[in-house]
Amino acid sequence: MISIRDLHKYFGALHVLKGIDLDVQKGEVLSVIGASGSGKSTLLYCINGLEMIQDGAVTVDGIDVHAKGTDINKLRQKLGMVFQQWNSFPHLTALENVALAPRIVKGKSKAEAREIAAKQLQHVGLGEKLNVYPSALSGGQQQRLAIARALAMEPEYMLFDEATSALDPELVGEVLDTMRLLADEGMTMICVTHEMGFARDVSDRVAFFHQGVMEEIGPPAQIFGDARSEHTRKFLANVR
């Protein structure tokens, strides 16, 4: 379980997250929606320790992410992350991209790591592209490669930071399909997204962020059909 208590995050004088309280249960799919700059992406970075926090706490399976003694590199193996800019490693083939971390972080043998990588690439539909360099892949394929790369570490949670925002419209579908597949397999997911269709159809709960505050959280039917917050209704009216 991921548990966030009274989380505060500042960038200099800018108060980006203003006391977030949130629990994400195993197997749950949570979508986080809201305008740009509302703090949604920063929340993900705070969960896997890529950003420091100024107050409050984030714990993953009882381990405090930001505590001094925490082995953050070990903890991050539980938390796969997929970025808006897919960040494939351009100097490695698809197979090597995925095999790298299992080999050097988990200490798997070369053969074992390649086997895991091939399996995960198959999983996201890139079984034909094992020996291709990222420059020869489309944006959608590179994003699926990034998903496979995160999955190869056998994470228990997946964090998606606007995974489809940088893609050409015709490539969004293939990435969303892959995310749906993971959700169906029971992966615990936190998806920061602007894809309202995905948020409505796939999530168990949807959280709406507004200016660093989690204004509202609930089942998709409630958020999309009967939002309590004025801001939520306004936001949803604008994106539709």
Partner: protein, 220 residues
């Protein structure tokens, strides 16, 4: 009118000596480059990530190496240190001068290379559980290496050609050796013409092997 008679025989006779001197040229240039790459990498990282005295030391090195004549840098390690009673051998003077110069130029190449790799590559690596060192050594540096590969080749060529300044501090590398024979036989044009051909051949071999190596190294 043109009444110069060419005499190539003395040059041909000392060709083995010239070729031996050429190997010395190549040796000192390669050594200066190896040291220059290691030091240049450190200077670049110091300038990117550190503050205070180390930053200023690295910056001063880069500024001096790039903005003063290479010949003066050589003279510093020869006559400059000599004035303080520290007498280096001609070989060491050239090696030190070349290394100082190459490290300065390479540092800036490396700095540009590091800046060209997006910060997000490190974030992605760290998110997979890599340590900062793993992220740097497995993800960032291989990409930097490709970016700086051709500038490094240029610097290698420059190091070979610049080593000819060694003859001004009494180093008998290819140019020093040529000067020595030329002044003994007065066949100045012939000697320097042949030596120019040797330099040309060395540089061509460097460029060609660099290109072949690049084709093997960089498949992306």
């Amino acid at each position: 009118m043109f009444d110069y008679n060419f005499h190539w025989r003395p040059v041909m006779k000392s060709l083995p000596d010239l070729l031996e001197a050429a190997s010395l040229t190549l040796q000192v240039a390669v050594l200066a480059m190896v040291l220059g790459i290691v030091i240049g990498l450190c200077l670049a990282l110091a300038r990117l990530h550190l503050r205070g005295p180390v930053y200023w030391f690295a910056t001063a090195w880069v500024e001096l190496a790039r903005n003063t004549p290479a010949l003066f840098q050589l003279f510093f390690f020869g006559f400059g240190l000599g004035a303080f009673g520290l007498h280096l051998s001609p070989y060491l003077i050239v090696l030190a001068g070349l290394t100082f110069n190459c490290a300065g130029y390479l540092a800036e190449n490396f700095r540009g290379g590091f800046k060209a790799v997006p910060e997000t590559q490190i974030r992605a690596s760290r998110s997979l559980g890599m340590t900062p060192w793993q992220a740097y050594s497995r993800v960032v540096i291989p990409q930097v290496f490709r970016i700086v590969y051709h500038p490094i080749t240029n610097q290698m060529v420059w190091a070979v050609l610049m080593s000819s300044l060694g003859m001004l501090v009494g180093f008998r590398e290819l140019s020093g050796e040529t000067q020595f024979f030329a002044s003994r036989t007065f066949r100045i044009f012939e000697y320097f013409a042949v030596t120019a051909v040797i330099y040309y051949a060395i540089v061509k071999v460097i460029l060609l092997s660099s290109r072949l190596m690049a084709a093997r190294l960089f498949r992306y």
